[in-house]
Amino acid sequence: MKSLMKNRLAWPVIALAALLLLNQIFRPDFLSLRMQDGHLYGSIIDIMRNGAPTILIALGMTLVIATRGIDLSVGAVVAIAGAASCAYIAASPEPASPVTAAMAVLIAVLAGLLLGVWNGFLVSTVGVQPIIATLVLMTAGRGIAQLITGGQIVSVSNDHYKSIGAGYLFTLPVSILITAAVFVLAAVLTRRTALGILIEAVGINPVASRLAGLRSRNIIWIVYVFSAVCAAIAGLMISSNVTAADANNAGLYIEMDAILAVVIGGTSLAGGRYTLAGTVIGAFIIQTLTTTVYTLGIPPEVTLVFKALVVITVCLLQAPKARNLLRSLKAAPKPGTKEKVAI
């Protein structure tokens, strides 16, 4: 079991290490950290801070994917959560008070909860394919966010609210701490309880799971709610970081980054076995990649092209067919085509 986990994480870890090393070579101070005003600074901290929303969403996405699902609506949920909280703060009589900020957070999380329940309802109760069910909210969600903000970018000035995305606590950015807390929570929730194993069971063989007495409906509901709540928290971070809600662009394409993080991290899109740690590493890889582009002096416009190439490479490396091909090139004379039909 341990060697298997190691095996699955090996590739992502090597990729991340290679990327970091590359940066270190080009910018010798890359890995260094320094203290300033009691805050920790450094490229690594920046990567973690900028990657926090993606990591959060990718954590939720991992569990959804493990159940054979996918959640395309997270970007829209980010927009809605940011819009709801900012609109609340902007409209409140005391826009700068901590109570208002707390209420705004509560509203955003509740919005996430509600949207997650909606997705879960479509998938588990109505039985719509996940990609389609969440496509509905992906399409309509940005409209809803614009409806909330009235089509404007809603700016707020509330220092308490701002600290979620831009503040520091115990020398570290608050967003990193929140993300770490959610990661620990998710890990404990799935591995200390039986949730993890049941999620995997549902993802690997839903029919057999049902006959073993598993209530997969509840499990599926839980993962979609968790995913949407993660997205809502990420929405809070994003909007608080810029102290504004942008219904059009907040969290744009973040579902893609999150799915990539999950895949790069070693969880199969076909569902089943998952690894949260792998997902975090996957998200770091994506974020480091963006940084690397800057470090190497490549124009930032190229980031997306770069990302696309990395995704394809990683997917090819993970594809069983490509692996077989590599293996057969190395030694074994067995043609790889057979396994596909042999299942």
């Binding site: 394919q129 809803i144 416009e301 997917c315 090819l316």
Partner: protein, 338 residues
């Protein structure tokens, strides 16, 4: 170890011809529902705004959505095989960027269009090859294709590039008169020609029937000796080609290239196909249905434009709602025929 083989008693239950014909009819039901919806919306529009009931309003639905029609055609092929292509919006933008840049540098418009089609088709072909030969989900491969195409747009330019070239501007302004003081754009004719070609390919060629067979049961199609691999790859190439054509049409329409253009257009295309009655699991659907799907999306926009008090974001919400309604309808039909 005697087996209980020889005496199985059960009577043959053949469905009555009537019943099987009705089931055949159910194939068209989702598409007919969409058509009904479109007519109803048009009628409601006409009731609310007298000027709505004009031939030109109807034709404008085509003129304003030529590119979406072409995209939906390509997407229909892909979805019929049970796949999905998320790259189409980005390929549209890339095509526009390439055309605008090259035209600015004084290239011949015919050469530009040819090159754009090659790029779009080539990108689709590449994605199809990866999907097929490495057995990676279409969803993830076309997602990477989307990143690649969008990234190439950024590499070309972050700014909007105007198109001032003669041929493009004249096509953009051209109006083809129809009887009754009506007109359409040349793009509409091209889009309709593509729809007609797609209809012919899907219903009257072996390639088209193989597309349906793959969507029905890919394993069976393989065992029946059909060219599954080739067909699946071609379908993505076709979708890439359609995206490139849509990009050229969009260039005619907007006379510019902008790297952020056509964002989320893949969603519109998918929505149009689904609303048009094509099952996302593949195997069932009609390209004409997808066209009606585009018209429904178009009429929603027209409605909101006519109303004046409704903000533009209602379009997204309504499309999301329609998508939901049709998905639920599909579920209902699937349950009934199962």
């Amino acid at each position: 170890m005697s087996s209980l083989s020889t005496l199985t008693p059960l009577t043959v239950k053949e469905p009555s011809p009537l019943r099987s014909r009705m089931r055949g009819g159910a194939r068209y039901a989702p598409t007919l529902a969409t058509l009904g919806l479109f007519i109803a919306m048009f009628a409601v529009g006409a009731g609310m705004y007298p000027s709505f009931l004009s031939g030109q309003v109807f034709l404008n639905l085509f003129i304003d959505n030529t590119f979406l029609i072409v995209l939906a055609v390509g997407m229909t092929f892909v979805i019929l095989t049970g796949g999905i292509d998320l790259s189409v919006g980005a390929v549209v933008a890339l095509s526009m960027m390439v055309s605008a840049t090259l035209l600015q540098q004084g290239w011949n418009p015919a050469a530009v269009i040819f090159l754009v089609l090659v790029i779009g088709g080539g990108l689709g072909l590449l994605m199809g090859l990866i999907i097929q030969y490495f057995d990676i989900q279409p969803f993830i491969v076309t997602l990477a294709g989307m990143f690649l195409a969008r990234g190439l747009c950024y590499v070309i330019s972050l700014d909007s590039i105007p198109v001032t070239e003669g041929f493009f501007t004249s096509v953009a302004q051209a109006q083809i008169p129809l009887p009754g003081d009506l007109f359409v754009s040349p793009g509409v004719l091209l889009a309709l020609a593509i729809v007609a070609a797609a209809f012919f390919i899907l219903h009257h060629t072996r390639f088209g029937r193989t597309v349906y067979a793959i969507g029905g049961n890919e394993h069976s199609a393989m065992l029946m000796g059909l060219p599954v691999t080739r067909t699946k790859i071609l379908v993505y190439a076709l979708s890439g080609l359609c995206s490139a054509i849509a990009g050229v049409l969009f260039s005619f329409y907007s006379l510019s290239g902008y790297s952020l253009a056509a964002q989320g257009m893949e969603l519109d295309a998918i929505a149009a196909v689904v609303i048009g009655g094509t099952l996302l699991t593949g195997g069932t659907g009609y390209v004409l249905g997808s066209v009606v799907g585009v018209l429904v999306l178009g009429i929603v926009q027209t409605f909101i434009a006519y109303d004046g008090t409704l903000s533009s974001w209602w379009t997204k919400i309504v499309i999301g709602g329609l998508l939901l309604a049709f998905i639920l309808l599909q579920r209902l039909f699937a349950r009934k025929t199962a």
